[in-house]
């Protein structure tokens, strides 16, 4: 009972502190924009910890954050091996192949107005479908190692990147195109000097959407067959033996990776599209 009250009190204290900070004079400083969500996150974790103790929740249902953290440290070599297998080989491999394939097809389709008008609706249609369902089929085709995961990821990231690139290449104003015409510029100068730079914000939008998809594809595909390593494999087998703390450790890794991957693409975007109104 004491733990429950303590958990509630700590969380309430954090919330009260945040009210003071958010309505205080310094609330718009960059430091506060980090401090406030961190306080919220930390107090929420503390409440989780204390309530699990207080309500006597069994670890097979929900482990405590400290147990998860302990697992994270003690199983680091295993987690690193899983990370290499799933993220570096499966997700990144597929992301790169799918990205280049989509970019190539977009450039080709872009040469014809007719094709563009066909590719755009079909591509955005495909992007909304449950493509991850091909995972069992691909595992059968390409074997259970990382190649099949990369193949699933390739197909999943292909359509969002394709659609965004094609849409971006069309996103120039009449005036910009007329300017190129007054210079007598042909297809290639127009592509490299006008349309590709103008398309960059769109392309990065597609690349950002694709980061999360890549991780989902790589992990889910491992549920249908994998060597004895990988995040999806670890999650499903640890469940079998009710080692929930290890499952949560993998979830933490997946969440961190997802945010970092997205953050990395965002940083590159900021460097390359610093001129776009949304970045200024």
């Amino acid at each position: 009972m004491m733990y429950i009250v303590a958990g509630f009190l700590i969380w309430g204290l954090g919330w009260w502190l945040n009210i003071r900070l958010a309505n205080g004079p310094a609330s718009d400083t960059p430091a506060m924009q980090i401090v406030i969500p961190v306080i919220f996150g930390v107090t929420s974790l503390l409440m989780w910890e204390l309530w699990v103790i207080g309500f006597d929740v069994k670890p097979v249902f929900l482990p405590r954050p400290t147990e998860i953290a302990a697992r994270l440290v003690s199983e680091l070599p295993t987690l690193w091996a899983d990370f290499k297998q799933t993220i570096l080989k499966g997700a990144l491999g597929g992301y790169v192949i799918g990205g280049f394939a989509a970019f190539g097809v977009a450039i080709l389709a872009d040469r014809s107005e007719f094709l563009t008008r066909g590719v755009l609706p079909v591509g955005s249609f495909m992007a909304a479908l449950p493509i991850v369902g091909i995972a069992p089929i691909f595992v059968k085709w390409f074997g259970s190692d990382w190649e099949s995961k990369a193949a699933v990821v390739t197909v999943m990231v292909f359509f969002p990147i394709l659609v965004n690139t094609v849409a971006g290449l069309r996103d120039t104003t009449t005036m910009q195109r007329d300017l190129m015409r007054t210079y007598g510029a042909g297809y290639w100068p127009t592509l490299f000097k006008l349309r590709l730079p103008a398309a960059l914000p769109f392309i990065f939008n597609g690349l950002k959407i694709a980061t999360t998809l890549a991780l989902i594809g790589a992990i889910v595909a491992e549920f249908f067959g994998s060597p004895t390593v990988g995040m999806g494999f670890r999650i499903s087998t640890s469940f079998g033996v009710l080692a929930l703390d290890l499952v949560w450790a993998e979830i933490v890794i997946a969440a961190l990776t997802g945010s970092l991957f997205y953050g990395a693409v965002t940083l590159i975007e900021r460097g390359m599209t610093f001129w776009h109104p949304s970045q200024r």
Binding site: Q176, T182, P189
Partner: protein, 262 residues
């Protein structure tokens, strides 16, 4: 009042009809005009009178449905490939991902000038429009008037002898516009280019031009051509002189005449 009277641009009986969803639009009807070398020609008229369309025809951005137009004795398309034009649009239209210097370098890159030549030209035209030292800034870091000056510099960077300007100062406030008008005249005096200038401001047209072409809409056609008696050297206060006011009157009458048959 042009220095020499060899026409560089000749239009004979131009006709242009756009097919739209609401039926055909007669944008130009029977337009004939000679523009001499070194002329500063303004096109003025209400919207829909075809002044922009005519400028685009000269630049080869539109193809007339009938009639004949030559630029330096060539078709507009050939003249475009021979880099005869610098075109300045209503908005500066600078590429936001390039610096001011990079924007001015854009046509030079496309036309294959050497690196050294590019740098030399960028610096020269930046000085010409009073933007020396701004080549590393990005367009959005400059005011609207400065951006428009940069876009004029971009049009001057390669040796086009014809400068076509489509309401280049239309979006700017009057004080900036006066200043740029003055600078444009100085630039014209220094470079001896032939300038085609679309505007809907009567004072601007009269102040700048050696020849004022008054146009009227539906169908777009020329209703009056006025050769300005003003000297080439024009301080801003020339706008209070009786000659100036008299030409302005004539332009206004021409515009009004075009409206009567609505």
């Amino acid at each position: 009042m042009s220095l020499e009277n060899t026409p560089v641009i000749t239009a004979r009986n131009l006709d242009l009809t756009f097919e739209t969803n609401d039926g055909p639009i007669h944008a130009l009807k029977d337009v004939s005009l000679d523009i001499g070398k070194g002329d500063f020609v303004s096109f003025i008229g209400p919207s829909g009178c075809g002044k922009t369309t005519f400028l685009r025809c000269i630049a080869g951005l539109e193809t007339p449905t009938a009639g004949e137009i030559t630029v330096n004795g060539m078709t507009p398309d050939e003249a475009r490939r021979a880099r005869a034009y610098g075109y300045v649009f209503q908005a500066a239209g600078l590429y936001p991902w390039r610096t001011i210097g990079g924007n001015i370098r854009l046509p030079l890159e496309i036309m294959g000038y050497s690196k050294a030549d590019q740098n030399e030209r960028v610096n020269r035209v930046l000085d010409l429009v009073d933007l020396g030292g701004f080549d590393r800034k990005f367009p959005w870091q400059l005011s609207g008037g400065m951006q428009q000056r940069a876009s004029i510099a971009r049009a001057l960077a390669f040796d086009a002898d014809i400068l076509l300007m489509d309401e280049p100062f239309g979006a700017l406030d009057e004080i900036v516009r006066d200043h740029l008008n003055e600078q444009l005249l100085q630039l014209w005096a220094r470079t001896e280019k032939t300038i085609g200038f679309v505007t809907h401001s009567i004072p601007e047209a009269v102040y700048l031009s050696t020849k004022i072409v008054v146009m009227s809409p539906r169908p777009g056609r020329i209703s009056d051509v006025i050769d300005s008696p003003l000297p080439r050297e024009r301080p801003l206060d020339i706008r209070d002189s009786p000659e100036f006011i008299e030409i302005a009157h004539r332009v206004r009458d021409g515009l009004r005449a075009g409206h009567i048959d609505d």
